[in-house]
Symmetry: C2
Subunit: 135 residues, 2 copies
């Protein structure tokens, strides 16, 4: 059996910060957010607690091809759009039925059970397009 998890002010605050943030943020950004309230908090502890929150299914860790992980509080399932020009990461929603059709294809054709998905579309976002980016 695993380790028992107790309450912790720091971990609580980390979750709150994530839930009240609209963007996908780095561990280091969270660390800076916590410092006013917990002046002696350590970055290592932010990482430790993020790992716990991810294990608990309360937070998603996102790679996005960069070498820095981003974190977001778990909400309704959604996909991500990453702009290759400006780097912006935006949530996108795709109708449930389209999502289900893709996943049931995978079940049917391959026999795998899909429990979660991490989908990122890359391209040029609306704002960059408006700026006349052609590529």
């Amino acid at each position: 059996m695993g380790v028992k998890i107790r309450k912790s002010k720091q971990r609580n605050r980390i979750l709150e910060v994530l839930q009240s943030s609209r963007n996908h943020v780095t561990a280091n950004w969270i660390y800076d957010e916590l410092r006013p309230e917990f002046p002696s908090v350590s970055l290592g502890n932010v990482y430790r607690n993020l790992n716990i929150l991810v294990d608990q299914g309360l937070v998603n860790r996102l790679g996005f091809g960069s070498n820095v992980d981003l974190y977001e509080a778990v909400r309704e399932p959604h996909y991500h759009f990453v702009c290759d020009r400006c780097g912006a990461v935006e949530d996108v929603r795709v109708p449930e039925d389209l999502q289900h059709r893709v996943e049931s294809r995978i079940s049917r054709d391959y026999g795998h059970v899909v429990t979660s998905k991490s989908v990122e579309f890359h391209g040029i976002c609306r704002a960059c397009r408006a700026d006349g980016v052609t590529m």
Copy 2:
């Protein structure tokens, strides 16, 4: 204008290795593959060349939430399925029309242009299911 790219035996071999490999492999694995032919090749140079090949659009870099990047030669577009139990990464194909419907929804609803996608489904693969994994 960028830097001119010359031919290089090592980079050529790296691409061949990727093209003849069915799996998604690490830089370090490629490094080991090259050593018989280029005994003094360096891991740093493998990384340098992988970056060039990715820039040239010949190779995909895949994060998969792990802290090690995986590489694959570029072929037809496809998605990935990652087994959370055994870590296996498998290519999955989804009918073109379903892919296009998802992407045109993003264009229509958000105004972004989708040029590529990196899609990973997570779950339990067929083999692990057969082994009686319940989760």
